[in-house]
């Protein structure tokens, strides 16, 4: 396709895709009167950033919500890696009876969408008094069948000689895992990390179910609550909140695009 029409078309489509973002930021800077004037202008006439963002910062513990998000996603990722890397390694490199069957059995888990185990997990959490706890938010996601699959594939591709050389050098299995396997798992780990963090930062379903106390709200819940309870029709503040919870991942994405796209493309394999 010729250069100019292509660029024009792509730019138009880009604007279309960016519309919500543009307006989100724009409204977050406008005072109430302008928001309700149904104007098409993006630049606010009166600068209301302090009001809107101020209201958000004052009335809802947005910092807390963001920290919750970071903590929960971080913990989930840590557990996922801690479980999936050794399991993937074992399934790829170690020989033991029933390995094939175990792998097939675990892969069945890929077929099950995340919402399916929700009800019994909730019942169990309720009975154990674990509702409204970080444990409830983190535990169900510690198993990532996709992670096991990913690391197994990755380790399979790793040459055996590397491990043999380490063993010949006198390392025991644990050292082999720590000193040889883990450092080499880095690229797969980062891609997986991105996939996991993006998925869980945005997750609404499970936090909505298990958390009713404000202290534990994840960013997604925080926005939902603010919208439903407090904001009323103060779109300015609402958009300010939206900007604040969306910004972290967007900025991280813009800084590390390639890695992000790699990670998310992998999730495509999961389906």
């Amino acid at each position: 396709m010729k250069a100019a029409p292509r660029l024009i078309l792509l730019s138009l489509l880009a604007v279309l895709v960016l519309l919500p973002y543009i307006w989100m930021v724009s409204v977050s800077l406008k005072p109430r009167s302008e928001v309700f004037s149904a104007t098409l202008s993006l630049i606010p006439q009166d600068w209301a950033a302090a009001q809107n963002y101020g209201r958000v910062l004052r009335e809802i513990p947005i910092g807390r919500y963001l920290l919750n998000g970071v903590f929960v996603c971080g913990a989930i990722l840590a557990f996922q890696l801690a479980f999936a890397i050794p399991a993937g390694y074992a399934l790829a490199k170690l020989r033991f009876p029933g390995r094939g069957a175990l792998f097939a059995f675990v892969m069945l888990g890929l077929l099950v969408p995340a919402h399916v185990p929700a009800i019994p997990l909730y019942i169990a959490a309720a009975n154990a008094g674990l509702l409204n706890s970080y444990t409830a938010l983190i535990a169900p996601f510690t198993i990532s069948v996709f992670g096991i699959f990913l690391f197994r594939q990755f380790f399979r591709a790793m040459p055996d000689e590397l491990l043999h050389a380490a063993r010949v050098d006198g390392m025991n299995e644990a050292s082999v895992v720590l000193r040889v396997v883990l450092p080499n798992a880095w690229p797969a780990a980062t891609a997986f990390a991105i996939f996991s963090v993006v998925a869980h930062w945005s997750d609404l379903f499970w936090p909505l179910i298990v958390v009713t106390e404000g202290d534990l709200y994840t960013p997604a819940l925080g926005v939902l609550w603010f919208r439903a309870e407090e904001a009323g029709d103060d779109y300015g503040a609402l958009m300010a909140a939206a900007v604040m919870v969306t910004a972290p991942l967007v900025i991280a994405f813009l800084l590390a695009q390639r890695r992000f796209i790699e990670g998310m493309t992998m999730s495509g394999l999961k389906g």
């Binding site: 973002y21 307006w23 074992a90 077929l111 185990p117 019994p120 169900p140 919870v245 967007v250 998310m264």
Partner: protein, 281 residues
């Protein structure tokens, strides 16, 4: 062994709960009520006659029917546009991919403002050219379409990236061969080389988008809560309502089982089709 912790977590968080859901589907369990009974297939029978469930299934099917082809075509179109030139690839790829890394609840809220019937820019624009825009999210005629549009917006970038990966896997030489063989137009080259070699990718994209569409929850929960009048009721939202608002867990479990079966069928169909077509280099 090394797989120990993973296996434990797998059993506790995935396997046992999934089996439990299937078991629950045959009971009339309600959280907070003492005891429960086996009711056999009663829950499933009730599902069939439940108006809400019927609306839910119909809406989900409609939503999937809109969003899946539209977002696949959008993804394909964007990928082809980006690949067909030299400039700005990284920038455009980043822009179209943005929705994938954005918090959906927040973006849904932004969309709510955009689509607001009185103060939203979309209707303001329409007013400027003399049209009266409908109540996009508040009218039962338009709500599903609006959610669908948001769904396409959400998925197009993701599909684009998958198609881009598929496109870059096509050997450049094939295009040179096609040119020498007489494929003059871009359409001819697309038919001879691009489309056939994108086959597996397009299949993957279709399956993924279908399943993602079936699982839509965030936009419904944030914007419409199934309304107005069940016009945007969708499967996962219904499960949520039944199970966690009304606490009729046995019933919600039955619906979950149906949901699981649908997803499994979609994946099965995909695997079958792939097996049939894996006979090339």
């Amino acid at each position: 062994m090394l797989t120990g912790p993973a296996m434990l977590a797998y059993l506790a968080m995935l396997l046992v709960p999934t089996l439990a859901v299937v078991v629950l589907a045959f009971t009339d369990f309600e959280l907070g009520m003492p005891g429960f009974r086996w009711v056999g297939f009663d829950n499933f029978a009730d599902l069939l006659t439940d108006r809400t469930v019927a609306a839910s299934v119909r809406n989900t099917a409609l939503y999937v029917a809109i969003v899946t082809p539209a977002s696949i075509l959008a993804g394909l179109g964007l990928a082809l546009l980006i690949e067909s030139g030299l400039r700005g690839k990284i920038v455009f790829r980043a822009i179209f991919f943005l929705p994938v890394v954005s918090l959906m609840v927040a973006m849904a809220t932004a969309w709510q403002y955009l689509l607001h019937p009185t103060i939203g820019p979309v209707n303001a624009l329409l007013r400027m050219i003399g049209l009266a825009g409908p109540n996009w999210l508040g009218s039962s005629d338009w709500v599903l379409i609006s959610l669908g549009a948001i769904g396409v917006w959400e998925n197009a970038g993701f599909n684009m990236v998958l198609v881009l990966a598929g496109l870059t896997a096509i050997p450049r030489e094939l295009y040179a061969a096609a040119e020498v063989d007489g494929a003059r137009s871009a359409v001819a080259r697309f038919r001879l080389v691009t489309w056939p070699l994108l086959g597996p990718t397009m299949l993957l994209v279709t399956t993924i988008t279908t399943i993602r569409s079936i699982r839509t929850f965030d936009t419904v929960a944030t914007l419409t809560q199934g309304g107005p009048n069940k016009a945007s009721e969708m499967i996962v939202w219904t499960i949520y309502q039944e199970g966690f608002s009304f606490l009729r867990m046995g019933y919600a479990a039955a619906l979950t089982v149906v949901f699981l079966i649908v997803v499994l069928v979609v994946m099965l169909v995909q695997t079958r089709i792939i097996e049939k077509r894996t006979h090339y280099a």
